[in-house]
């Protein structure tokens, strides 16, 4: 009965404070529920996409001497196998085509025999480029090598047998060539096998007709694989899905008893996804958990602003005979009211957020996981309310006497941790943990290939967490110092706002140093969280873009087939295509450095930046601009890899003799270059060793200006659309890729999930938290002192006098919080990016600072402060005596 009366009273008289505390809980619940649901949903997305990206789940290779039909039957009957198709692989001695009076020949190639149903079952393995989509199909590069097109006739060599003449029906691309031509059963960690240059695809019956005789004479040139699609009844979690799929594959190998080996493409893809899933979990911990902690701190701080009043009310109740147990029951009821209201509002907000900002898989299991997260978030919200509202009340009920409770807290003593130096200890701990983590190469997630268990180095989280906490406490120490020993400074600083009252205002602030420092720290922690999250996300986006740019080269890249001789004049034709803003030709040659064969890229140093972005981080020994200028002014300048510099002990300006193929004689000839710098990355270049030189010099010295690729800048037009137009113009002879598609191919499954949605949610929450922390803390802190202002008003203080108190405190909390928060945020961003190095490919050379967002954050905080301060000042305009009477 007393409890209900108490709650009714709270709702009637303390509605604002109750709602403010509930809003803190709501923020925590909404953040946890939405990010948790996102995590569950994104794990399911990762599994789904991993499965969708694999056209052939297993490639079961029949081992020499084994009975292929027995292997096929065993595979087909294995649990979990949905479809199985027999694919033949035969080695050809080479292909030849005579087109338009010239004859082209190729080296050895591979001929695949595909069943009629193969395309329907494994649609991702082939992509039509020209002609029919059934019959005899020529791989794109082979077609380019032979200058062959649909309808042409080619000769196919068979070892020890007569050549076969075949009519080409179509030209196809093999997008999954790496896995299709993998070496099944290769040792874990072995170098992947490069796909063959020349590939011909035949219908199964035709293949048998042509190669069954070869299987008799040269069985070593014939292989059989069973391509399998498994049942995709997998768990949402990539890790669990990986364990299931690899278990099934191993079980099949055991059944085959050495007759076949399983190339587990699905397992490999899920293996990559499981470490990405763990990284997503790590991101949740790094980015979501601090937000929830902040919301909890905000709730505690909001509840704390009414602590004096609560103590007085408790004292009054005790004076009227209430027992400690009854007081506790009342505070528990208040905490439950705050918790339940906050949880309900938070869950509703999370539901809206997941609909608006995040894409949901909508699958049953993901939905169940989301419900689980929602329940956990609601419980966390109630726990926060208990800790923020009931715990301090319990502590007070244990220790406060009636007399002491009726007094407000006057001279605030400094917290004990200030004397113990906990802040310094936390910062030192952060440095030590960071140092230990860096010795490990910042490896957070360890997912050894072929091993079902993966581990996360959660210890590394301690570094940024300790930095965050330590910096917050240090900000408290500095604030406390400024408010006590720094009073003369504070007085001078307050003079422009408070005028003659600056001395009294600084004195008042000194006595209020506990709540003021608390508010400042909360603002600082929120800004540190918001800014570090924003910088991390911006850096992540930047590097994903860099990765895609490096892999694809430019918005759209036209890669000429090896052996073709397309000159730079082709750029003019490409430049006329709608949507093309700029075209940059790049030579691609192979050159011997000593015995090493390396890629050599010839560029036009003055214009290359028009089509692609060159970052300083790609180079060593000078900035991108400086090294391109050097290539321009010194045509024989050469940029080489770091490894080459070490291997050949190169010093700047040393001569480097490369052996390059002469355009006319096709023989290798020595060409002198001078070492000018190191290229670590370059658009379209491989990750390992390569070289960059001046294209004009290379063309002059080799007698050919043949281009390897054209980099196209679309100037904002849709890259896939422009790529389509280029493809229609150029035809199937060249490979055309666009950056949008490239992002999907090169990006991990982590980048493939809707990280942008998560970013929006986190950054939105960060702004809400920052604005709430500053605005609500000020508003409630000032509201608690309405009687003080009313008395001052009765003594003759005008609005501008009271404004002096309000604005000085607001400026102290806001500016101090901003300064401490931005400095901490900068330090945390650096640490986060280092600790989460594994997420970035390539690692960033510099942080990307999202100035627009940070400006928005500052504006949101300033607006919240202005609103809170203005509302507080406006509230003092009521007749002073009415306020004194109401608040007595």
């Amino acid at each position: 009965m007393l409890g209900l009366t108490w709650i009714r009273g709270l709702l009637a008289r303390r509605r604002g404070r109750l709602l403010a505390a509930a809003s803190g809980v709501a923020i925590a619940v909404a953040l946890l529920a939405s990010i948790g649901s996102f995590l569950a949903s994104s794990k399911a997305t990762m599994t789904r996409r991993a499965v969708a990206d694999v056209p052939v789940d297993w490639q079961v290779e029949t081992q020499p001497g084994a009975n292929a039909s027995v292997v096929a039957r065993t595979v087909a009957s294995h649990p979990g196998v949905a479809r199985a198709s027999d694919v033949g692989f035969a080695q050809s001695t080479g292909f030849e085509a005579t087109v338009s009076g010239t004859t082209q020949t190729t080296g050895p190639g591979l001929v695949l025999g595909l069943p009629q149903s193969y395309r329907a079952h494994f649609s991702g393995e082939l992509r039509d480029l020209a002609g029919a989509h059934t019959g005899v199909l020529l791989a794109q590069q082979t077609a380019a090598n032979l200058h062959a097109a649909p309808g042409d006739t080619i000769q196919m060599g068979r070892a020890g047998l007569s050549r076969a003449t075949i009519r080409v029906d179509g030209v196809v691309d093999l997008p999954q060539a790496d896995s299709l031509f993998q070496k099944v059963g290769a040792a874990v960690g072995a170098q992947p096998q490069a796909p063959p240059d020349n590939v011909l695809l035949l219908p199964s019956n035709e293949w048998h007709r042509l190669f069954d005789p070869l299987a008799v004479t040269r069985p070593d040139l014939i292989r059989h694989q069973i391509h399998v699609t498994t049942a995709h009844d997998l768990p949402n979690d990539p890790s669990a899905a990986y364990t299931l799929v690899t278990g099934r594959a191993r079980n099949l190998e055991v059944k085959l008893a050495g007759a076949g080996l399983v190339g587990d493409n699905l397992g490999a893809k899920l293996g990559a996804a499981r470490s990405d899933a763990l990284y997503a979990q790590v991101l949740f911990l790094f980015l979501g958990f601090p937000g929830a902690v902040l919301a909890g701190l905000l709730t505690a701080a909001i509840a704390g602003t009414g602590a004096d009043r609560r103590r007085r009310e408790q004292a009054l109740l005790r004076a009227r005979g209430a027992s400690t147990r009854q007081l506790l029951r009342l505070s528990l009821m208040e905490a439950i009211a705050v918790g339940v209201l906050g949880a309900a509002v938070g869950l509703a907000a999370a539901w809206i957020i997941s609909r608006v900002a995040l894409t949901s898989t909508g699958s049953g299991a993901a939905l169940a996981a989301s419900v689980g997260w929602s329940i956990a978030a609601a419980l966390a919200g109630i726990a926060i309310a208990m800790a923020a509202v009931a715990l301090p009340a319990w502590r007070d009920a244990q220790s406060t006497t009636v007399a002491s409770g009726r007094l407000s807290r006057g001279r605030a003593a400094g917290p004990r941790w200030l004397r113990w130096g906990i802040d310094f200890a936390l910062l030192a701990g952060s440095a030590v943990v960071f140092w230990i983590t860096s010795r490990n190469g910042y490896k957070l997630v360890l997912a050894p290939e072929g091993v079902p268990t993966i581990s996360v180095n959660y210890w590394a989280f301690a570094g940024p967490a300790l930095l965050w906490g330590g910096a917050g406490l240090l900000a408290w120490r500095v604030s406390d110092l400024l408010l006590t020993r720094g009073r003369p400074l504070l007085r001078r600083a307050a003079r422009p706002v408070a005028g003659r009252l600056s001395g009294i205002v600084s004195g008042s602030m000194s006595r209020q140093r506990r709540p003021l420092s608390q508010a400042l720290v909360l603002v600082a922690l929120t800004i540190a969280f918001a800014s570090s999250t924003a910088v991390f996300n911006a850096t992540y986006r930047q590097q994903a873009e860099v990765d895609a740019q490096l892999s694809n080269g430019a918005d759209v890249t036209v890669t000429e087939s090896p052996g073709t001789n397309v000159g730079p004049v082709q750029a003019t034709a490409l430049g006329r295509i709608k949507g093309v803003k700029g075209v940059e030709p790049i030579q691609h040659r192979f050159a011997y450095v000593g015995a090493d064969l390396q890629d050599l890229y010839g560029v036009r140093p003055r214009t290359i930046v028009g089509a692609t972005r060159l970052q300083d981080a790609y180079f060593q020994g000078g900035s991108a601009t400086a090294l391109m200028s050097k290539l321009a002014s010194q045509p024989d300048a050469l940029l080489v890899s770091d490894e080459t510099v070490k291997d050949f002990q190169l010093n700047p300006s040393d001569n480097v003799i490369l052996r390059l193929q002469d355009g006319k004689t096709k023989q290798l000839k020595p060409v002198r270059f001078r070492y000018a710098g190191v290229a670590k990355e370059f658009p379209t270049a491989p990750h390992d060793s390569f070289m960059v030189a001046n294209a004009a010099y290379v063309a002059r010295m080799t007698g050919t200006d043949a281009i390897g690729a054209f980099l196209i800048n679309t100037g904002g037009s849709s890259p896939p659309t422009v790529a389509g137009r280029v493809r229609a113009t150029v035809g199937p002879g060249a490979k055309i890729t666009d950056i949008t598609s490239s992002r999907k191919v090169v990006g991990s499954s982590l980048t493939a999930v809707d990280l942008a949605g998560l970013t929006r949610v986190e950054l939105g929450f960060a702004i809400v938290l920052a604005a709430s922390a500053t605005g609500l803390m000020l508003l409630l802190g000032l509201a608690e002192r309405r009687r003080t202002f009313a008395i001052a008003s009765a003594l003759g203080a005008r609005t501008h006098h009271l404004g002096g108190f309000v604005w000085t405190e607001a400026a102290f909390v806001t500016l101090g919080g901003l300064l401490a928060g931005l400095v901490t945020g900068w330090a945390m961003s650096n640490m986060l990016v280092k600790v989460l190095t594994g997420v970035f490919d390539p690692p960033p050379a510099a942080l990307a600072v999202p100035f627009v967002y940070l400006s928005g954050l500052v504006v949101a905080i300033v607006v919240a402060v202005l609103m809170a301060a203005t509302a507080s000042i406006r509230a003092t305009r009521r007749p002073a005596i009415a306020m004194i009477r109401d608040l007595a």
């Binding site: 001279r411 009294i504 006595r511 209020q512 003080t788 001052a792």
Partner: protein
Amino acid sequence: MTATVAATKALVVCDGAGRTFGSGPTAIVAIHGVTCRIEPGQRVALTGPSGSGKSTLLHLMAGLDHPTVGSITWPAIGSRMQLRPGPVAVIFQGPSLLPALDVVENVALPLVLAGADDDDARRRAHIALERLDLDSLGSSLPDELSGGQAQRVAVARALAGSPRLILADEPTGQLDRATGRQVIDTMLDASTHSGAALLVTTHDDTVAENLDERWRMVDGCIVPDMTAVPGGEATCSA
């Protein structure tokens, strides 16, 4: 009874001033039309039972509230805006010190509000505190003071600005008799020393006996039999 009030030198003149809280059937008339005046140096005890309207009348005289009927003027001072800080000082019933300011700052605050610079205000605050033997409490916070000490500091704050009219609302209401006596003596000494007029609301006869005159309020009126006061007059038109 009605009277024409001569308003030449009076510090405060109430001309049929009344105050009603709320409106309609729930309206509460706190003061009926009161006509009274306070001259410089006059020391009045305003007595009456709780709820009789003493505090409301004091608030009206202090310019902290507005009459709903009649008028209040301060002929010797000026407009309402010129009352505080400066010529009129108010001592409130119960704790009225600002908890975040120490004793010196509490006393200095009205002086700074009146335009004194910080150092001068603090110097004058120290003098006011010394006069009340409170200088040893200068750096104490209100929560560290006893009720009597706090009320004496409030008196010191009222006196520091050398006001011409001190309005004290039940200044001894929450104090024991001895402490109350001490506070009243302090105010009387200060009034004598500075020549300030004094109006003290109280329902304690022993307090009232220390003042030169006594007005009695009953049900929002200053009752007629108690209005015969030298140097001033008070009536009620209800």
